[in-house]
C-alpha cells in the first residue's frame, strides 16, 4: 500500500466522520419524531445548534480549574481519533495499527474519565451526581464492550480492527453463532454508552433522571458545542464499530480505490438503517430506573462473555 495515498485516505475519512456525525444524530432524532407522530426538527438541526453555540459568549464558573475548560477539547479529540481508527470506508488506514480494539476501548475510557472529572470540578450537586452515574454505567459498559470485541477478535485471531474486517468481510461466508451473542451485547452497550433510552434520555433535563446532561450542565457556548459534537462523534464511532464487526460487507479492501464509491453507498445505507433502528428501539422502550441500569448492563456483560464461551465451545 502506498503510504502517501494511505495518509490522504486517513485524513479524508477523519474529515468525513467529523462532518457526518451531527447528521447521524439529526437522522435518529428525526426518525424518533416520526415514530412519535411528530413532524420533527429536520435532520440538519444539530448543525444549526452547533453553529448557534459557536457564536455565543462562553461562561465559566468562578472556581473552574484548567481541567474544566481543557476537557471539551480532550473529549472531542478522543472521539475524533476513535472515528479515525475504525475502518469506516476502507481498511487502508495507516494509523490503524497504532491502536487496536483494546486501545479503542481505552480511548473511550480516557474520554469518560475526563468528562466525569470535569463534572466534579465545579463542585455542584448535579455535576457530581452525573459523574457518579456516568462512571457507574461506564464500569459495566466498558468490560461488556471489550468482551464483545474479544469475541470478534477470537474469530479473526486478531485484535486489530482492520484484520477483523478483512477476515469477516472479505473471507468466505461463515456463520458465527457466537456473534449473535456479541451483537446482542453490543447493541445494549451502544444504547448505554451513548446515553440513549432505556438508560438515559438525551433530550431530558429532568434533574433526577439525567446522567450525561448532568455532567455537562456547567458548559456553555464553544465548550458545550465541542461536548455535543463529541457526543455525536461517539455515537457515530460506536455505530461504525458495530458495522465493521457485524456487517462488514462493502468496506473496501486495502488500496482498492475503485471500491470507495461502493463503500460510500454501503456506508450511507447502513448508517440510515442503523439510525432508524436505533430510533425504533428508543421508541419501543421506556426509560429504566437508575438501579435497573446495572442489571441491563450486567446482562450485556454476561451475554458478551457467553459469546466468547460459545466461540470456544462451538467453533473450535
Amino acid at each position: 500500500m502506498n503510504v502517501a495515498s494511505g495518509i490522504v485516505f486517513q485524513i479524508l475519512q477523519s474529515v468525513l466522520v467529523l462532518l457526518i456525525a451531527p447528521l447521524m444524530v439529526g437522522w435518529v432524532n428525526q426518525c424518533r419524531a416520526w415514530l412519535q407522530n411528530k413532524s420533527g426538527p429536520g435532520i440538519w438541526q444539530p448543525y444549526k445548534v452547533l453553529n448557534k453555540l459557536f457564536h455565543k459568549d462562553a461562561v465559566l464558573a468562578h472556581n473552574a480549574s484548567p481541567l474544566f475548560w481543557a476537557t471539551p477539547y480532550i473529549l472531542f479529540g478522543s472521539m475524533w481519533l476513535a472515528g479515525g481508527i475504525v475502518p469506516v470506508l476502507a481498511t487502508s488506514l495507516p494509523f490503524a495499527p497504532a491502536a487496536d480494539v483494546i486501545a479503542l476501548v481505552g480511548l473511550f475510557a480516557f474520554a469518560r474519565v475526563f468528562i466525569a472529572l470535569a463534572g466534579m470540578d465545579v463542585g455542584t450537586s448535579f455535576g457530581t451526581l452525573g459523574a457518579r452515574r456516568e462512571m457507574m454505567i461506564g464500569f459495566l459498559a466498558e468490560p461488556a464492550m471489550l468482551m464483545t470485541l474479544f469475541t470478534a477478535s477470537l474469530i479473526s485471531q486478531s485484535t486489530s480492527l482492520v484484520t477483523i474486517v478483512e477476515t469477516l468481510g472479505h473471507g468466505d461466508l461463515v456463520i458465527y453463532p457466537s456473534m449473535a451473542f456479541a451483537a446482542a451485547g453490543f447493541v445494549m452497550v451502544l444504547l448505554a454508552e451513548n446515553g440513549r433510552i432505556p438508560i438515559d434520555n438525551p433530550s431530558t433535563h429532568l434533574e433526577l433522571t439525567m446522567i450525561h446532561e448532568a455532567m455537562i450542565l456547567e458548559y456553555s457556548a464553544r465548550h458545550l458545542a465541542l461536548v455535543e459534537w463529541a457526543a455525536s462523534l461517539k455515537l457515530t464511532a460506536y455505530v461504525t464499530i458495530g458495522i465493521a464487526i457485524f456487517v462488514p460487507w462493502g468496506i473496501a479492501q486495502a488500496g482498492d480505490w475503485a471500491g470507495i464509491p461502493v463503500a460510500l453507498a454501503a456506508l450511507a445505507l447502513k448508517l440510515t438503517i442503523a439510525g432508524a433502528g436505533l430510533a425504533l428501539l428508543e421508541a419501543l422502550s421506556a426509560k429504566m430506573r437508575i438501579f435497573r441500569a446495572p442489571e441491563f448492563l450486567g446482562t450485556a456483560f454476561m451475554l458478551a462473555t457467553l459469546g466468547m464461551l460459545v466461540h470456544f465451545l462451538l467453533e473450535t
Binding site: V59, A99, S125, T159, E218, F301, T316
Partner: protein, 672 residues
C-alpha cells in the same frame, strides 16, 4: 595474566550498595543530635545508592548470572548470593522506586523529633537493604534471614507512630500474617530440599521432586508468598499496615515489598520447582482474579485515602497473579511462547504498579502533610492550592486506571493479549475459564477507573468540604522531585514499552528458556507486537502524537473560528438558588452505586435517622467480611486453646517438677 580492571561484577556492586544502605542507617543513629544532617545528607545519599542499584540491576538483566559467596553467616553455612536476569529486573524496580521515595523523604521528614527521625532512618535503610538481599539470596538460609529482616524492619516502620493504638494493632496483625507466610515459605524450602540437607538454590533446582511433592511445595510457596503479597484471603493485614506507616514507607511497602513476594513466587515456581503444571496455573489464575475484583471493590467502598490505595494494591497484585496464572497455564499445557508473554505481562505490571502506586502514596503523603487530612470526605478543591501535586497525581490516576497511552494500559493490554491466546489450549475446561478471567480483568480495570475518578474528583476537584485553619500549601521541592521522578517513570514506561519488553524477554529466556516469537521482536522500537503484526499491535508514541495533534488542531481551530468572549460567573447548577458545599458528593456517596450493586460482598452496617429526629445522623461502616468469616473464628480458637494450655500453669514449683518428671518418663518409655 591480565589484570582485571573492568567493572566489578553486578553481584559485588549490589552487595556493596546494600552494605552502604545499612551504613547510612547506622550513621543516622550516630547523628541523633543533628536531624538536619539526617534529612539533608543521609536520605539524598540513600537516594543516590538507590539510583546506582537501579542501574546495576538494569545492567544485570542482559548479563550472565554472577555469583559470590559472602564471608558471613554461620560456620559451614556461608551466604550464597547471585544476581541473574530476574534479580536484576527486581533490583531495578527496587532502586527506581526507592530513588523516588528517598528524595521525597528528604523533604517529608523535616520537622520530625530527632530521636524518632534517627530510628526511622535506620529502619528505612535496613528495610531497603534487606529487600535487596532477598532479591539476591542464593540459598534458602540467607533468603529466610533477609525475609525476616525485611518483615521486622517494616513492622517497626508500620509502628512508627506507636502511641496510637490503631497502629500497634495494625503492626500486630501484620506480624502475624507475615509469620504465617514465612512458615509456608520455610516449609516449602524444606520440601524442596528433599532430605539431602543442602539448602543452596542450586541444590534445590536439581532436586527433581515427584509430582505430589512438587505440588505440595508449590502450594506452600503460593500460600507463603501470597500472604506477603496480599492475596485473598490473606490480604487483611495490608489495608491495616500500609496506611499506618509514614507515606514514603507506604509507597515502598506497596510498591516494592509486595513485589518481593512476586519475585519469590516466580523464583520458586519457575526456577526452583520447574516442571510447571497447568493445574497450579489455574489455581493462581482463579485466586488472582478473585483478589483483583475484591481488592478494587473494597477500595471503592473506602474513604480513607491511604487505605483505599492499599486495597488498590491488593487489586493490582491480583492482576499480576492473573498474568502469572495465565503464564503457568500456558507453560503447563506446552505453549511456552504464550507462557513467556504471560510472564512478561505479569512482571511488566509489577513494575508499573510499583511506579504508579509509589507515586500515588507519595501524593497522599503530600496531601497529608499540607492539610493533615486523610479522609477523602473532608478534602476537596486541592487543585487550587497544590496545582503541581495535582498534575503529577493526575498522571498517577490515569496510569493506574489503565488508560492509554500511560503505563498501566500497556501491561493490561498484554494480559488481554495473553488471554486471547486461549484457543491454543487443548483442555476445554481451561479454555472456557480463561475468557472468564479476561472478563473479570476487564471488569476490574473499569472499576479501577471509577475508583480513581472518585479519588481525584473528591480530593482535588470540587470545593473544599472542610474549612481548614490555614490554606493548604504546595508540596516542597524535594517532595515534588520524588513525585516527578515516578511520574516520568509512568510516562516513559507507557510510551516506550518495547525497551522494557526487550529486557523482560531476556528475563524469560533465562528463566523458562523461551521468549517471544521472532516476529514480535523484529517489529522495531515503535511498535509493540506481542505475537505477530496482524494479530495485534499498539504504538503508544504514535497514539500520543495523534492525541496531541488532534487536540492541537481542535484547539487552534476553535480559537481561530470562535468570536465570542469568555467570562466568569457563579456556577449555574440548573438554576438552584441554594448551593452549599455540603451538597457535593462525598466519597461515600460516590461509592454508593457500587455498594448497592455488590451489596452481598460487603458487610455494611447502617445507622439511619428516623423521620422525627431533631438532629439526624446517618452513619455507615463497611467492613471486610473476611474478618468475621475467617479470622475471628481462628482467633477465637487460638484464644481458647491457649486458655486450655494456660491451665497447666499452676504456679506451684512442685507441679512444674511433676511435668518435667512425667515428660522424662514418657520419653524414656517412648524411646526405649
Amino acid at each position: 595474566m591480565m589484570m582485571d580492571v573492568s567493572l566489578p561484577q553486578p553481584v559485588e556492586t549490589v552487595v556493596t550498595l546494600a552494605v552502604v544502605w545499612i551504613g547510612l542507617g547506622v550513621a543516622g543513629l550516630a547523628f541523633v543530635r543533628a536531624p538536619r544532617f539526617i534529612t539533608h545528607f543521609i536520605f539524598p545519599c540513600g537516594a543516590l545508592v538507590a539510583l546506582l542499584l537501579a542501574i546495576t540491576g538494569l545492567g544485570a538483566i542482559g548479563a550472565p548470572p554472577s555469583v559470590a559467596i559472602l564471608p558471613a553467616g554461620l560456620p559451614d553455612l556461608p551466604f550464597h548470593v547471585r544476581v541473574d536476569a530476574l534479580s536484576g529486573f527486581f533490583l531495578m524496580l527496587l532502586g527506581g522506586v526507592a530513588f523516588g521515595t528517598s528524595l521525597f523523604s528528604t523533604g517529608y521528614f523535616r520537622g520530625m523529633a530527632p530521636a524518632a527521625l534517627a530510628l526511622l532512618s535506620l529502619q528505612y535503610h535496613v528495610f531497603l537493604a534487606s529487600m535487596t538481599v532477598v532479591l539476591i539470596a542464593d540459598d534458602a538460609y540467607l533468603f529466610m534471614v533477609a525475609w525476616e529482616a525485611m518483615a521486622l524492619a517494616s513492622y517497626f516502620l508500620v509502628t512508627t507512630e506507636h502511641h496510637e493504638e490503631q497502629n500497634r494493632k495494625a503492626g500486630f496483625i501484620y506480624l502475624v500474617v507475615a509469620h504465617i507466610g514465612a512458615l509456608g515459605i520455610l516449609l516449602c524450602f524444606g520440601v524442596l530440599q528433599g532430605g539431602r540437607g543442602d539448602y543452596t538454590f542450586d541444590a534445590l533446582r536439581q532436586a527433581g521432586l515427584g509430582d505430589n511433592w512438587a505440588s505440595l511445595a508449590f502450594l506452600l510457596a503460593f500460600l507463603g508468598f501470597g500472604a506477603k503479597a496480599g492475596m485473598l484471603p490473606l490480604h487483611v493485614w495490608l489495608p491495616e499496615a500500609h496506611p499506618a506507616a509514614p507515606s514514603p514507607v507506604s509507597a515502598l511497602m506497596s510498591g516494592v515489598m509486595l513485589k518481593t513476594a512476586i519475585y519469590g513466587l516466580v523464583r520458586v515456581v519457575y526456577d526452583l520447582i520447574g516442571n510447571i503444571r497447568w493445574e497450579w496455573g489455574l489455581l493462581v489464575l482463579l485466586v488472582g482474579s478473585a483478589t483483583a475484583l475484591f481488592g478494587i471493590l473494597f477500595a471503592l467502598a473506602e474513604n480513607d485515602l491511604k487505605r483505599l490505595l492499599a486495597y488498590s494494591s491488593v487489586e493490582n497484585i491480583g492482576i499480576v497473579l492473573t498474568g502469572i496464572g495465565l503464564s503457568m497455564v500456558f507453560i503447563g499445557s506446552g505453549q511456552p511462547v504464550a507462557g513467556a508473554l504471560g510472564l512478561i505481562a505479569a512482571l511488566y505490571h509489577a513494575l508499573n504498579h510499583a511506579v504508579y502506586k509509589g507515586l500515588l502514596f507519595l501524593g497522599a503523603g503530600a496531601i497529608l502533610k499540607s492539610t493533615t487530612l486523610w479522609n477523602l470526605n473532608q478534602m476537596g478543591g486541592l487543585i487550587r492550592y497544590m496545582p503541581k501535586t495535582a498534575v503529577v497525581f493526575l498522571v498517577g490516576v490515569l496510569a493506574i486506571s489503565a488508560l492509554p497511552p500511560l503505563n498501566g494500559f500497556v501491561s493490561e493490554w498484554l494480559t488481554f493479549q495473553v488471554s486471547l491466546q486461549a484457543s491454543q489450549l487443548s483442555s476445554s475446561v481451561v479454555r472456557s475459564l480463561v475468557p472468564i478471567a479476561a472478563a473479570l480483568l476487564a471488569l476490574t480495570g473499569a472499576l479501577t477507573g471509577m475508583c480513581f475518578v472518585k479519588v481525584y474528583g473528591i480530593a482535588f476537584l470540587g470545593q473544599p468540604r472542610l474549612s481548614l485553619a490555614e490554606a493548604p500549601r504546595e508540596a516542597g521541592g524535594w517532595e515534588l522531585a520524588g513525585m516527578v521522578w515516578l511520574t516520568i517513570g509512568c510516562v516513559l514506561l507507557g510510551i516506550f514499552p518495547v525497551f522494557v519488553i526487550g529486557e523482560l524477554n531476556a528475563v524469560c529466556l533465562s528463566l523458562i528458556g523461551s521468549g517471544l516469537s521472532a516476529e514480535a521482536l523484529a517489529s522495531g522500537w515503535l511498535w509493540l507486537v506481542p505475537t505477530a503484526g496482524t494479530q495485534a499491535s499498539y504504538s503508544p508514541l504514535i497514539f500520543l502524537l495523534a492525541i496531541m495533534v488532534v487536540f492541537g488542531v481542535t484547539f487552534l481551530g476553535v480559537r481561530r473560528l470562535y468570536r465570542g468572549r469568555l467570562r466568569r460567573a457563579a456556577p449555574w447548577d440548573c438554576g438552584f438558588p441554594e448551593q452549599t458545599l455540603r451538597m457535593q458528593d462525598s466519597a461515600d456517596a460516590f461509592g454508593q452505586p457500587i455498594r448497592q450493586i455488590f451489596a452481598p460482598l460487603y458487610r455494611i452496617r447502617r445507622q439511619v435517622p428516623r423521620p422525627d429526629d431533631a438532629a439526624p445522623v446517618f452513619r455507615q461502616t463497611v467492613e471486610d467480611w473476611h474478618w468475621y468469616v475467617l479470622y475471628r473464628p481462628i482467633a477465637r480458637l487460638t484464644t481458647y486453646l491457649s486458655d486450655q494450655v494456660g491451665k497447666l500453669q499452676q504456679g506451684r514449683i512442685s507441679v512444674y517438677l511433676l511435668y518435667s518428671f512425667v515428660t522424662l518418663i514418657a520419653l524414656l518409655v517412648f524411646v526405649k
